[in-house]
Amino acid sequence: MQQSVPAFLSDRHRWLKIGLPAALLLAMCIYSAIAGPKLLPSFADYLKDPGRFDGTRLIVQFTQIKQYNGPDRFIVQDIRGNRIEVEGKVAPGQEGSFISFDAVFRSPGRLILGEPWHIYARDTLKLVVSAVALIGVAVFFLLRFRFNLRRFRFEERR
């Protein structure tokens, strides 16, 4: 389908039109990487100076339940591999599931489970169905377009 090309989408200064938003996006990513962790400190930050943070409330997000140490104690692991014991009762048999919860940090390295908390069930299934959708969309797209490496753009298949 042929149509008029608005100036902001034309080929004039094409690389500048790609480079500028790319630089802006990169700057946003760097800013987020620096400022984000300060916004939501993790228990690993508290473990570096446990005495100072004793009694501090924090939100623990997307940590994995690694094992149960009795009916009301369990160990969680964050995405960096740091582990901590949590005091509190959650549904049993959830090893491997991800959990987010409100907690209070206790020195030298323990969390008291607070409300609210939520266990994210069927995380693997979610990944699998997402992969199915990703492949489906990719196939649907590639049936119509192919990438021309020389011109560095997608072209419609004839």
């Binding site: 094409r14 996006l25 946003m28 997402s130």
Partner: protein, 159 residues
């Protein structure tokens, strides 16, 4: 985030652009491609890639992707990508979080809000119903389209 299949299936009910529909479906998964997919390979990248899942980050991403297409179709490509991405972000708005919700106004502010209707993992429960609904939708669409074509052919014959 709900799973990508929910995003794609739910996107059927809002709009299905007539031209370059493929790009609408790419748009439906674009925020997750930019701001979540790298986490599958490198979990520590969460804060770095997070802007890719914000409205401004998605807009910039869609704009850059648009230049990977021929100039004459870029307007449609850009519109379809944005349409899909906007619906993706709308669906994400309806999720419940214990931590902060998505940063809608990043990089201007970290303030955020949500309309907490469901937990991210609950989208998988809705998938069978969504699949049936999309199937019925397509069946009806095809039936209605066939009826419309028949009526048009009859009226042309009468003329």
């Amino acid at each position: 985030m709900p799973d990508l299949l929910t995003h794609v299936l739910a996107g059927h009910f809002i709009t299905r652009p007539k031209s370059y529909r493929e790009l609408y479906f790419v748009g439906l998964i674009l925020p997750d491609l930019l701001g979540r997919l790298p986490m599958v390979f490198y979990k520590n990248s969460y804060w770095f890639i997070n802007p890719g899942h914000t409205p401004i980050g998605t807009l910039l991403g869609a704009y850059m992707v648009t230049f990977l297409f021929e100039a004459p179709i870029r307007k449609t490509v850009f519109r379809n990508l944005l349409l899909g991405a906007a619906f993706h972000l709308f669906l994400d708005l309806l999720q419940r979080h214990i931590t902060d919700a998505y940063y809608w106004f990043f990089p201007f502010t970290w303030r955020t809000f949500e309309v907490p209707l469901f937990w991210p993992d609950q989208s998988v429960d809705a998938l069978p119903y969504l699949l049936v609904a999309v199937g019925l939708f397509h069946l009806l669409h095809r039936r209605l389209g066939r009826g419309r074509r028949l009526r048009m052919a009859q009226s042309e014959n009468q003329r």
